[in-house]
C-alpha cells in the first residue's frame, strides 16, 4: 500500500518535471535530476517498507554529545 503510494507520487513528480527538460534537450540537467530522483526514490521506498532508516540527527546528537561534549543537561 505505502509502497504503491510512494511509487505513484514519484511517477507524478517525474511526469511534472521531466518533459520540460526533454523538450528543451537539457541532457546534463536531466542526468543531475535523475540522480537526485533515484536517491530520493530509494529513500522513499525504504521508508515505505518500514526499514529503519538511521536518522542523521541522531548521529549528530551522538557526535556533539559524546565527542565534542557539547550538550546541555536536561534540568
Amino acid at each position: 500500500m505505502n509502497l504503491l503510494l510512494v511509487l505513484i507520487a514519484f511517477a507524478g513528480i517525474a511526469a511534472i518535471d521531466v518533459p520540460g527538460m526533454v523538450k528543451s534537450k537539457r541532457w546534463h540537467d536531466l542526468t543531475v535530476y535523475s540522480i537526485l530522483f533515484l536517491l530520493v526514490l530509494v529513500l522513499g521506498i525504504l521508508v515505505a517498507l518500514d526499514v529503519k532508516v538511521p536518522s542523521p540527527i541522531k548521529a549528530i546528537q551522538a557526535f556533539y554529545r559524546d565527542i565534542l561534549h557539547l550538550s546541555f543537561k536536561i534540568s
Binding site: 507520487a9 518535471d17 535530476y33 537526485l36 529513500l43 522513499g44 536518522s55 556533539y64 557539547l70 546541555f72
Partner: protein, 390 residues
C-alpha cells in the same frame, strides 16, 4: 516600474523575519522548562547574542552584494571546498525544514486530527509549500505584512482575553535560578528560533543591488523578541507552575480563554495561525535549500544571477522553475517529506534534541561557518573593499 516589483522591499523582509521566528516561538516551550518563570527575559538576552551574528551576515552580504550564501562560499573557498561547505549549509537547511515540518505534523496529529496518520498531514503541508515556491517566493514575502498583522492581532487578542485568568505573582521570584541556566536558555533562544534567520541570507539577493540586509533582519529580530517576551510572559502568568509541565504552553494558556460561553476554545485560532506561520517558515527554508542546491549543481556553467544587474533578483527568485536548470522543487519537497518522517521516532526525542544538542548544532552553521567565511574573505581581501563594522 510595475514589472521590476519582483524585488522584495526590505520592510516586507523584516515582517517575514518576524513571522519566520514567531511560528517557532508559539510552537516550542522548551526554554520554559529551563528558566521557569524568568523565561520571558531570555527573549531580550537572546536578541543581544544575535547582534554579532547579524553583523556577520550583514558583512558577508555587503562584501558580495546580490550573492546568496552558496555563491559566496564558492567565491571565498573556491569551487571544491566551497561546494563542501555549501553542502553543509544545505544539509542544515534540509534538517531545519524537516524538523519544523515534523513539528507541525506532530501538532496537527495530536491537537487537530487525532487518528490521522502524520504522513498525510505532512504531505498536504508540504504540498502547500511546493505550491508557494512554484508561484515564486516573492509573493509569500509580499504577503508577510498581512501575516504579521494577522498574527500580531491574534496575539494581542489572546493576551487581552486571558487577562481575566492571569495571576501576576507567578512571575515572582525574579531571577532566583543558577546563572548557567540563564546562559543555557539564552543560547537556546539565540540558536533555535532566532539564528535560523540564516535562511534569509539566501533571500537577501532579492533585495536587489543596493539592498541593506542588516536593517530588515534586525528589525524583524527586535519585533519577534518582543513578541516572544509577550508570549512567554502570558504563558507564565496564566499557567503558573503548570507552565513547565505542559507540552505546549502557548496552546494551553489559550485554552483557558472563555468569555461567557461564546468566545471559548480560542486554540483553534492559535492552530490556524501556527499552521500559516509554519507554512511560511518551511517554505522559506525549502526555498533556501532548493536555491542552494540549484546554484551548486548549475554552478559556474550557467550563473543564475549576475551581480549588480537590477533584474537579477527576480531572476534568482523565479529561477527555481525557470528553464535553464533542473527543476528541483518537487524532488526536494519529497526529500524533506521522507526526512521528516524518520528524523525522530517520538516527540520526546524531539524535545530532548531541542533541549540538549540543537543549540550547538545550529550555532555551528549560524555562527561558526559564517564567521569563518567572513574571516577568510577579509584575509583574502575578497569582495567589495569597504570594511564591515559589527
Amino acid at each position: 516600474m510595475t514589472l521590476e516589483k519582483e524585488n522584495i522591499s526590505s520592510k516586507e523582509l523584516a515582517f517575514a523575519v518576524f513571522c519566520f521566528i514567531h511560528g517557532t516561538v508559539l510552537r516550542s516551550g522548551f526554554i520554559i522548562s529551563v528558566t521557569r518563570n524568568d523565561s520571558w527575559a531570555m527573549a531580550f538576552t537572546g536578541l543581544l547574542f544575535m547582534l554579532p551574528i547579524v553583523a556577520i551576515y550583514a558583512g558577508l552580504l555587503r562584501k558580495f552584494p546580490g550573492k546568496s550564501l552558496v555563491e559566496i562560499d564558492d567565491i571565498i573557498f573556491g569551487p571544491i571546498l566551497g561546494k563542501v561547505i555549501s553542502a553543509l549549509y544545505l544539509f542544515f537547511f534540509a534538517s531545519l525544514a524537516a524538523l519544523n515540518t515534523r513539528d507541525l505534523g506532530n501538532f496537527v496529529a495530536v491537537h487537530m486530527m487525532p487518528e490521522t496518520p502524520i504522513a498525510a498531514a505532512i504531505a498536504v503541508f508540504l504540498l502547500g509549500c511546493v505550491y508557494t515556491l512554484r508561484k515564486g517566493i516573492e509573493n509569500l514575502i509580499n504577503l508577510s505584512t498581512l501575516l504579521f498583522i494577522i498574527s500580531a492581532g491574534a496575539l494581542a487578542l489572546n493576551a487581552i482575553l486571558v487577562l481575566k485568568e492571569v495571576q501576576p505573582e507567578f512571575l515572582k521570584p525574579l531571577f532566583r535560578l543558577e546563572p548557567q541556566k540563564y546562559v543555557q536558555a539564552t543560547v537556546s533562544v539565540t540558536a533555535v528560533p532566532m539564528g535560523e534567520v540564516l535562511a534569509f541570507t539566501m533571500l537577501t539577493p532579492m533585495l536587489g543591488k543596493n539592498g541593506k540586509a542588516a536593517k530588515p533582519l534586525l528589525l524583524g529580530l527586535v519585533l519577534s523578541s518582543v513578541s516572544m517576551a509577550i508570549v512567554l510572559m502570558r504563558d507564565i502568568v496564566t499557567l503558573g507552575p503548570l507552565v513547565s509541565i505542559v507540552s505546549l504552553p502557548a496552546f494551553e494558556s489559550i485554552r483557558y480563554v472563555s468569555l461567557g460561553d461564546i468566545l471559548t476554545r480560542l486554540e483553534s485560532v492559535y492552530g490556524v495561525i501556527l499552521i500559516i506561520l509554519f507554512l511560511l517558515k518551511v517554505s522559506i527554508l525549502l526555498y533556501a535549500f532548493v536555491l542552494g542546491l540549484t546554484q551548486m549543481l548549475s554552478g559556474k556553467r550557467r550563473p543564475l544571477s549576475n551581480p549588480g544587474h537590477e533584474g537579477q533578483a527576480s531572476g534568482t527568485a523565479q529561477s527555481l522553475n525557470s528553464k535553464n536548470h533542473p527543476p528541483l522543487i518537487l524532488i526536494s519537497a519529497a526529500l524533506v517529506f521522507f526526512y521528516s518522517l524518520f528524523v525522530f521516532e517520538s516527540m520526546m526525542e524531539n524535545k530532548n534534541w531541542g533541549a540538549t544538542t540543537a543549540p550547538f548544532f545550529s550555532l555551528t552553521f549560524e555562527f561558526l561557518l559564517p564567521a569563518v567565511s567572513l574571516l577568510v574573505a577579509c584575509l583574502r581581501k575578497l569582495g567589495r573593499a569597504r570594511e564591515v563594522k559589527a
